[in-house]
Symmetry: C2
Subunit: 332 residues, 2 copies
């Protein structure tokens, strides 16, 4: 395994501070797609972006914004962590298609068309029925395609996801989820979705979030690498990466916010349950970004070629972002 291997994390949700930026930089991960909205409206999102603008000033020795794919290589060269802004919902654009370009101008490069619930654009994976991509959704996909913002369907329901793949002129991503064949959960993806991602030259980022793993927190690195090998066989070694879904430094109230937002008067326990009111425990082999190397080693031990390990750990995301962030390229 080469020491200068490019490593990209397709999704983290961290309550960042200078100490955590230091740890991220030390981990050797060169670029992270960070979540800056779940339920936030436009005003609240602008506030979050404003906070990040301060982060970039106060931690300019450790992090830098990624606005185009070349910035990822520049971050690697400078020994900094590149930061890609992303939303886990479309709540920031509210009811206004014009907000897509505004938010792109402010650096946002990835947006999910829904979180777990029905959005204005698509259906979330926790809804009982899936009406697919809406009229507004079609408009937003067109606009995201135009400006170069990645469509992420990680939390969306199956029909909506397949329609998004079909409607979008660019490949789409599932930044953080696992195959259902590995662990059957609402958030994981069927063979049909995986194949559609593969055929459309999209990307799947494998998640280390316990609720997405076989045996949860007890999932072994061997099982995880076996899943990656099976998925590579199914949809191609070029279509997969890591999207760890690493959550750090949040209290339980934040998990409640993610699950219940403002939409319910009762408590929604999401993937958890009433008798386990805490964040799930990470598997021993992936406690944080510093364990990215362990995953690379695990893939090597499983028999992946060096070039393929490099693809899964970062090169595939780089190629995908090269196609996705440019203002002109479309699905090949």
């Amino acid at each position: 395994m080469r020491k200068d291997m490019l490593m990209i994390d397709g999704l983290q949700y961290v309550n960042w501070n200078r100490q955590l930026f230091k740890e991220a930089q030390k981990s050797g991960v060169h670029t992270i797609h960070v979540t800056i909205a779940y339920w936030e409206n436009i005003r609240e999102t602008l506030e979050n972006i404003g906070t990040w603008n301060r982060h970039f000033i106060n931690n300019s020795d450790l992090i830098m914004p990624v606005h185009q794919a070349a910035d990822i290589l520049e971050a690697q060269r400078l020994g900094k962590v590149g930061i890609i802004f992303g939303f886990q919902n479309c709540s920031p654009i509210e009811d206004d298609v014009k907000m897509v370009e505004i938010l792109h101008q402010l650096g946002v490069r990835i947006m999910q068309l829904s979180y777990n619930n029905q959005s204005f654009l698509a259906t979330g994976c926790y809804e009982e029925q899936d009406g697919g991509i809406t009229r507004f959704g079609r408009q937003v996909i067109k606009e995201m395609n135009r400006v170069g913002m990645v469509i992420d369907m990680s939390h969306s329901a199956e029909k909506s996801t397949l329609e998004a793949i079909d409607i979008s002129e660019r490949p789409i991503a599932i930044t953080h989820a696992n195959p259902s064949f590995f662990h059957n959960a609402l958030r994981n993806k069927s063979d049909t979705v995986l194949r559609a991602i593969g055929e459309s030259e999209g990307m799947l980022g494998f998640s280390m979030y316990p609720f997405h793993l076989k045996n949860g927190s007890d999932c072994t690195l061997e099982d995880f690498c076996m899943m990656i090998a099976q998925t590579a066989e199914m949809i191609g070694i070029d279509r997969i990466g890591i999207g760890s879904d690493l959550c750090l430094n949040w209290d339980y109230k934040t998990l409640e916010w993610m699950r219940s937002g403002r939409w319910t008067t009762s408590v929604d326990h999401g993937e958890g349950s009433a008798d386990k009111l805490s964040w799930p425990e990470q598997p021993v082999w992936f406690k944080g970004a510093e364990d990215f190397h362990k995953v690379a080693k695990g893939l090597e031990d499983h028999g992946f070629k060096e070039v393929d390990v490099a693809k899964v750990m970062g090169r595939n995301w780089l190629s995908f972002f090269e196609k996705s962030f440019s203002g002109s390229l479309i699905k090949s």
Copy 2:
């Protein structure tokens, strides 16, 4: 026809001013459900309510707010027009179930779960697919039932409408639409929906908006009354009223706003078309609220009994609002 017959209009959308309040009062219509939001978010809706608060002060000789059904009879006694606040969309509550009670406290008594597009709660009649009532939708229905806010499905799609009827503990309304058997349009309602409204003790308000009428602006009063007779036979004389959908004093830009909101980069022509960029012309027998009497006369001429004319023109809405606005009664 008795001169003191109670008359209620189940929906108007008027750009109100003192002159129009005078005309409404002169028309003999005792209470009007007025539209105060299509796409407005909470901030914009509060502004609209603020404007109405000024209307009530500046025109206290002509209009008064209706917060409970008894206020309708009080308005009639005082010779004023009672005003019921309603939304043609759920955009005012944004993503927050708690806004239902807030808006109820401010006088809102009727809310559609969707306009023509997919909302957070339900699917609109212009969508290609209908996923029914969402998770958030179920929460909002429960809350509207609790506080006493009428669920209006006038612009919603079929499955969503049937599910709302089923889920709601109180009867719901379709304040302004016609049967599809009369004129087949996306906005009109199937026999299935009409029967479900009838069986659940809900209400249908007949619309005089040309796009909902057989032969559009050329629809005759005889045909309109025939439709009412057929619907009465189908779902019962107690389940129907008038919801004229009268639109007055708006320029074309407002119609564009209603149709396109902020959700599309291209123009959506809704029920109209690109070669007819204007509000549709009202049928000659219903140019404004002053023609309510003509409709009553038309029903009489068609053979309706006096007591039944009174029901259709206002008494049924009164009974429905008596059940709907109270804080305790549920579906009988």
